[in-house]
């Protein structure tokens, strides 16, 4: 028979939270923000192929921060869930809130019952339609889900970046300003992020069913100039 040392639930939760926070803090941050005609997702990402931002469905996008292998698996599960739901019912029945709830449940389960908590934070963004609102759902490593009114920051330095971004963002701006604010907030006062290290995606109505679009380096430079 093995011996167990007693660990109080408070201590256990604290240890697990610390572990997850440390893991997330090692990765770079990202910002999601609502602008006047859509939703913007910006991540600092030196890799051009290991994406942090992705299309989930016609009007839903995903962003992850923290450990790549963990959030990419959640991204794939999200695409499968959305396509499967749309296949079974109808495309208009695919709702970001339902997906964010599933992420929250899974992260919550992993936090309390898993071998280790997942070292990720997830953002589920939805572009509004006649039947659904524009939304940013942020899901934290322990399964807390929050409905962010204008913008959300994920990743290591979230509090500082949040404060920097909020200072310029008391109302909703056009894409150009919002992108500039987001990039300035990610960079901070002492450094500039090269355009090649930015991963930018938007959800915006362009008269097509699918609304997600990646912005190329040239498009980002153009918007930032």
């Amino acid at each position: 028979m093995s011996n167990y040392f007693y660990v109080s639930p408070e201590q256990l939760i604290k240890d697990r939270a610390e572990f997850a926070q440390k893991g997330i803090a090692r990765g770079r941050s990202m910002v999601g923000a609502i602008y006047d005609t859509g939703v913007l997702l910006v991540a600092e990402n030196p890799s051009a192929s290991l994406n942090k931002i992705s299309e989930i469905y016609d009007r839903i996008a995903f962003a992850g921060a923290g450990r790549y292998n963990e959030f990419d698996r959640l991204r794939e599960a999200g695409i499968r869930w959305a396509d499967g739901t749309g296949f079974t019912y109808s495309r208009e029945d695919v709702d970001a809130r339902a997906l964010a709830n599933y992420y929250a449940q899974h992260l919550g389960d992993m936090f309390t019952e898993g071998q280790k908590p997942l070292e990720v934070e997830i953002l589920v963004a939805q572009l509004g339609s006649k039947i659904r609102p524009t939304k940013l759902y942020r899901v934290a490593y322990e399964g807390t889900i929050s409905d962010e009114p204008f913008f959300a920051v994920l990743g290591g330095d979230a509090e500082t970046i949040r404060a920097r971004f909020a200072a310029n963002e008391e109302r909703i701006h056009p894409l150009k300003e919002t992108l500039k604010n987001a990039v300035d907030a990610l960079a901070g006062p002492d450094r500039t992020i090269p355009t090649a290290d930015l991963e930018v995606g938007i959800l915006e109505d362009r008269g097509t069913r699918r609304t997600f679009m990646r912005l190329s380096d040239d498009e980002v430079s153009e918007l930032l100039s």
């Binding site: 959640l74 499968r80 869930w81 499967g84 992420y103």
Partner: protein, 264 residues
Amino acid sequence: MGLPLFDAHADPGPSFFHYAESAGLTTPVSEGNATSPHATTVIAVRYNAGVVMVGDRQATGNYIASRDVRKIEAADRFTAIAISGTAARGIEFIKMAQLSFEHYEKMTDSALSLEGKANYLSPIIQRNNLSSPLIVMPLLAGWDPSHQVGRIFEYDGAGGCYERFDFSTIGSGTPFADSALRLGYRADIDLEGALELGALALYEAGDNDPSTGGPDFVRNIYPMMVTITAEGFRELDAEDVAARFRTINERRTQSGGVAGGTLR
């Protein structure tokens, strides 16, 4: 449906079909009533800058079940998929193909090649046709951006996939449509020639095969005509299609119902 997470060894990858099978979303393979409505003639003609497709609009069981079925759909921007055989299974098949190509693109952040799309459909057809009397026979045509040509892929009942470099037909009107295509096809055919020949071949099928609907001048329902080129999938306006079939009809009326010595 909960969050579909898989272990690495059981992961279905970017294939929506394999995911749907493992999650129980696909129709179970079963015996069915073979008199459920059938969809009929679709033609694809390859020309120098793409592919033209023409399809009739009628679904036929023991009687005419529907007069305005769409048997050709855009599977994505550069690919068209057409069905013949059991309508119910065909429509499900189109939905599965459309979703699969988009699913692959979202999962991997890159589009499936045209050949990849053609091969992907084989096991889906095989699964359906070898286990059910509700046969579905599709036709895939598209613009191949990596080779800059239009390409046509046809299938046999067991899911075998064959590329055709000239033209292909599916459905019960095949013998008549195919004869017209074989007589009228030239290797250097252009867009206008391919549209005219495709319309004529469909007219022949509609004229001779009771399950193929020709142009319906009474209800103003005409066959579907589409082109797939470097610009993507485009459906011809109903007015344009109507004019083409009216011309054929007038010529046939003048010559007493026969082609009158030339292919027209």
